[in-house]
């Protein structure tokens, strides 16, 4: 039933996409298309939620006679896909709502409208697919639709470059997944997931599949060093699409990983988790460090997605480690942490991209060095964005903290793991996670502080107008969800229970029991957290303090000029900028992690010319991985190109040589 509803929603999205090619020409088309997407997403969201909450819900399957001829197309809804349907459609609904307002500013609607619902449909299909072919078709369709969306503003050469790199890497990832499915399905082509589940793969095959899936799904999710497309492509798309790409599509990639590794392969060795954890730890720290170095708001957010993917993968890696050692309850905890973060990140990353989009609409600027002071001109956006910043920085009492807290709890269980490799790896990853959490806070102090606080650095920022109601309501709904998931984490954990039950055969204890919505992942004596109480405490103590001061002290306030130690400078350029904010951290980590090129041209005392400081930060992944690769292809292409310019005689010589070689082969054989 739910599968049918979800498929109808996908079909509805497809129809909306098709009609967008015509409606897109009309002014009324934009709201109709987005409203259609909104309704379809909401219906799918409701259906998935109902499925996951229903304790008696059975796994639903559906087969359509299309696709691989003799197999058909299989769809299935189990708790895992239901959960990811929720994530997908929540993001989709929010983005549609946001776009009802934001989309009106689109210069060329025909380059966005048809692809947006198609993109949503693709993501939903990935989650619904129950055979390798359907999965990959949907997977690549999703890439394709988002590729078109990245190219929405196709005149900018950097967008074209971003789109190109994106599509090539997406396709590379798909091919890796294809190889993985090839291994799992065997030469007979048992592509249906049910068949794969029943065939227990050899350890060697399982290892290969893990590597391939890490690369395949990881390149989509943005694991370092496969992340390079992400900070290019995500910012290039229109902001509601950026939100989907960062907030939802990367989660669909995570879904792919979970589906194949946890569900289809099932049995893995403990050292597999070592690889996952190492990659995840690296991704977490590098992602946030690169994010800190950005001054393009949307690119900062995109890089930060890399960090969050790392956090999610830490949870998944831990779950693998525990599962391989048969500690199911801990595996359930780690998986819950990872999945909780999936939900959280999809919410606040969408929110933040919406905010960035609002800033972009209001100021036509993405460069933080030209923004500032928007809290005065766009107070509502600023507030929503602030909530997102707090949440993503993993600060209590919002939701980001809860998932990170759960991850820490899972890490603290790890002494129970018997293997030495894991004993050493897990605390290291824990340290990296702690480091990244602190850096994330720095990153978002910078993002919010430079963009919204201080004095406006450009005229555009000074004259910005608050955005429309649709955009605002989308942002505020997500901000509310951030808060709700933060203070009522038990509800989310209970929702996740069927998922972990189906994947690792255990659940985190139910949270209906403990009072006041506190969460107790293992046992009460071990650890517990109560976001609700913390929030109440904060509110009450803050309120008490304010009351006390207002009652017993003074409320007198005077407005005055900035003091600034007596030397205020009216130029807005004297404020701390984005790159100066990041400078201490750049210095600390610069030599090891970044390719930083600083050039300082300081006038000598007495010289009248202006000083000059140039800063370039490169992602070393380009230098170390992609640069050599590109050069290799380039060289090979150049060398081989000589073959286009030979004489006919030379071509005949080629033919002749090939013939002789083949004849010698035959002679040698006979």
């Amino acid at each position: 039933m739910v599968a049918v509803i979800a498929l109808w929603c996908v079909a509805a999205l497809a129809i909306v996409a098709a009609s967008a090619t015509i409606l897109g020409r009309l002014a009324v088309g934009t709201p109709i298309i987005y409203a259609g997407s909104l309704v379809a997403s909401l219906v799918a969201l409701a259906a998935a939620l109902a499925h996951l909450l229903d304790p008696h819900a059975a796994v639903a399957t559906l087969t359509l006679p299309i696709g691989v001829p003799w197999l058909g197309t299989h769809f299935r809804i189990d708790p895992l896909s239901a959960f990811f349907l929720i994530v997908t459609n929540l993001g989709g609904a929010a983005a549609s709502l946001y776009a009802l307002g934001y989309g009106r500013h689109e210069a060329a609607p025909l380059r966005v409208l048809p692809y947006f619902p198609a993109y949503l449909a693709g993501m939903n299909l990935v989650v619904l697919a129950d055979d390798a072919f359907t999965f990959l078709v949907a997977w690549e369709f999703m890439s394709l639709a988002s590729w078109a969306l990245v190219l929405a503003d196709h005149r900018a050469p950097e967008n074209a470059r971003a789109a190109f790199i994106y599509l090539v890497m997406a396709s590379f990832g798909t091919l890796c997944l294809l190889l993985a499915f090839g291994l799992l399905a065997g030469p007979e082509g048992g592509y249906v997931f049910a068949t794969i589940r029943d065939s227990h793969p050899q350890p060697v095959i399982a290892s290969l599949v893990l590597l391939l899936v890490l690369v395949g799904a990881g390149s989509k999710a943005g694991l370092v060093p496969l992340h390079v497309w992400l900070p290019l492509a995500h910012p290039a798309a229109p902001s509601h699409v950026s939100a989907l790409m960062s907030g939802v599509m990367t989660k669909v990639a995570v879904y792919g990983f979970i589906r194949i590794i946890f569900d289809l392969v099932g049995e893995l060795a403990w050292w597999h988790s070592l690889i996952v954890l190492a990659l995840a730890g690296l991704t977490t720290v590098l992602g946030v460090l690169y994010a800190l170095m950005q001054h393009d708001l949307k690119r900062l957010l995109a890089y930060h997605t890399v960090e969050n993917i790392g956090i999610i993968y830490i949870g998944l890696g831990l779950a693998l480690a525990f599962k391989a050692n048969g500690i199911d309850w801990a595996a359930a905890l780690a998986l819950t942490a990872g999945l909780f973060h999936v939900l959280n990140h999809s919410i606040f990353k969408s929110l933040l991209f919406f905010g960035a989009g609002a800033v972009l609409t209001a100021t036509h600027e993405r460069d933080m060095e030209r923004l500032g002071g928007l809290i005065h001109t766009m107070p509502k956006t600023a507030f929503a964005f602030l909530i997102g910043c707090i949440a993503i920085s993993a600060l209590p009492p919002l939701n980001g903290f809860v998932s990170e807290w759960l991850t820490f709890q899972a890490i603290l269980v790890s002494p129970q793991l018997p293997q030495w490799g894991l004993k050493l790896m897990v605390p290291s990853v824990g340290a990296l996670l702690a480091l990244s959490a602190a850096l994330a806070a720095a990153c978002f102090v910078k993002a919010f502080g430079v963009t919204f606080l201080g004095r406006s650095r450009s005229h555009a920022a000074q004259t910005a107008k608050e955005v429309d109601r649709f955009s605002l309501s989308a942002m505020f709904i997500l901000a509310t969800l951030c808060l709700l998931a933060g203070v009522l984490p038990g509800v989310v954990i209970d929702i996740l229970a069927p998922v972990t039950q189906s994947l690792v055969g255990s659940v985190v204890p139910k949270h209906a029991g403990p009072p006041w919505f506190s969460i107790v992942p293992i046992a009460e004596s071990r650890s517990s957290y109560n976001g609700m109480i913390i929030l109440l405490f904060l509110v009450i103590s803050g309120w008490l303090t304010a009351l006390f001061i207002h009652r017993f002290a003074t409320r007198a306030t005077r407005r005055s000029a900035i003091w600034d130690c007596g030397y205020p400078d009216p130029s807005t350029a004297t404020q701390y900028s984005s790159s100066s904010f990041a400078m201490p951290i750049r210095r600390v980590f610069g030599t090891t992690v970044f390719d930083v090129h600083e050039r300082i041209d300081m006038p000598r005392p007495g010289e009248m010319r202006a000083g000059n400081f140039q800063l370039k930060v490169f992602d070393p992944a380009w230098r170390m991985v992609y640069g050599p690769l590109t050069r290799l292809v380039d060289t090979a292409a150049n060398r081989l190109n000589a073959l286009q310019f030979l004489t006919i005689r030379s071509y005949l010589t080629l033919t002749f040589s090939a013939l002789i070689v083949l004849l010698i082969v035959v002679a040698a054989w006979s």
Partner: protein, 318 residues
């Protein structure tokens, strides 16, 4: 009835830390002054300072936003709540389970987040420099702190402060290399987090290397009072944590009689007073560091804490 008693115990702790916090600051200042052969302000001077500040008119820059005005309360509230949740004289208070050690560290981070934002609100170079450096220091201190948390949590098998304290008072934990390393790291982190020498100098506004004071440069009146109070509370919190994690003896655990509680309270007060006196002694002995030496300082803490965790993982008996 029992509930009321429990609530009362919790309330005592909550307001207790608030009351003693300025006093601790007074002690440190007094000791420091004596060490420098000055007479120094009276020990109760911080109370008077706060009271005075609260009654002064708050001066806001023209372009200060609502965030600027809310941040001090926010900082104060988070620090207060965090401090109230660290067991001082007794374990197992009614709300102790609502936040564990990790959550307390994170609550402090929330306060810092608010303050760093406030530092950037008016748009001055000083505010920015303060926020930027504060976040840099935090980014180095927080992982070290969390590794300390790991160490303690792994030894005690829990991240719940009450349980940790109870475990350390009752069970025979003994002296452990890991805990020693963790203590070392914790002290370093505490110094950095509380803006003490050699990381920062709480006594001055006009030094190029200043961090915390640069952030709050524009604040005045009741807002400044809140921030100062929060700073004092934070110091108290770190003292309490140190006491709770590494020297929990005397704390009331299973025995919840008035006598036991009173004993716990007395022990607690004695311990933190001692710490408040020790801090300036250490501070007087060292010089302020340059900013870019901080990573080495905090890196040392991180390394010590990491070593502590690894030792625990490698051999759970150490």
């Amino acid at each position: 009835m029992e509930l009321i008693l429990e609530l009362a115990a919790q309330t005592v702790q909550m307001f207790g830390v608030l009351v003693i916090a300025p006093f601790l600051l007074g002690i440190t200042r007094k000791v420091k002054a004596r060490l420098l052969r000055r007479i120094g302000p009276p020990m109760f001077q911080p109370y008077r300072d706060l009271w005075k500040l609260m009654h002064k008119e708050a001066v806001l820059a023209h372009n200060a936003s609502w965030l600027y005005r809310v941040a001090p309360y926010c900082v104060f509230a988070t620090t207060w709540v965090a401090a109230a949740l660290v067991p001082t004289y007794s374990t197992g208070l009614i709300f102790s389970w609502s936040a564990d050690l990790i959550a307390i560290v994170a609550l402090l981070a929330t306060g810092r987040f608010a303050l760093a934002l406030a530092g950037m609100d008016v748009g001055t170079a000083f505010g920015g420099i303060g926020s930027s450096r504060e976040m840099m220091i935090a980014s180095l201190a927080e992982p070290a702190m969390l590794l300390v948390v790991f160490t303690v949590a792994l030894v005690a098998g829990t991240t719940q402060l009450s349980t940790i304290a109870a475990a350390f008072t009752e069970a025979h934990v003994g002296l452990r290399v890991s805990l020693g390393l963790a203590l070392f790291a914790f002290v370093f982190v505490g110094i950095a987090e509380n803006a003490r020498i050699p990381i920062d100098n709480p006594a001055t506004h006009l030094e190029l290397t200043m961090v915390h004071e640069a952030m709050v440069l524009e604040y005045s009146g009741r807002h400044l009072a809140m921030i100062e109070a929060a700073a004092a509370l934070k110091l108290t919190l770190y003292f309490s944590l140190l006491v709770c994690l590494f020297a929990p003896f005397g704390m009331a655990t299973t025995d919840r009689s008035i006598a036991a509680l009173a004993l716990g309270g007395a022990a607690y007060l004695a311990k933190i007073a001692l710490l408040a006196a020790l801090l300036p002694i250490g501070e007087t002995a060292v010089a302020k560091m340059r900013v870019f030496r901080y990573p080495i300082f905090l890196g040392g803490a991180f390394a010590a804490a990491a070593l502590a965790v690894f030792l625990l993982f490698v051999s759970r008996g150490l």
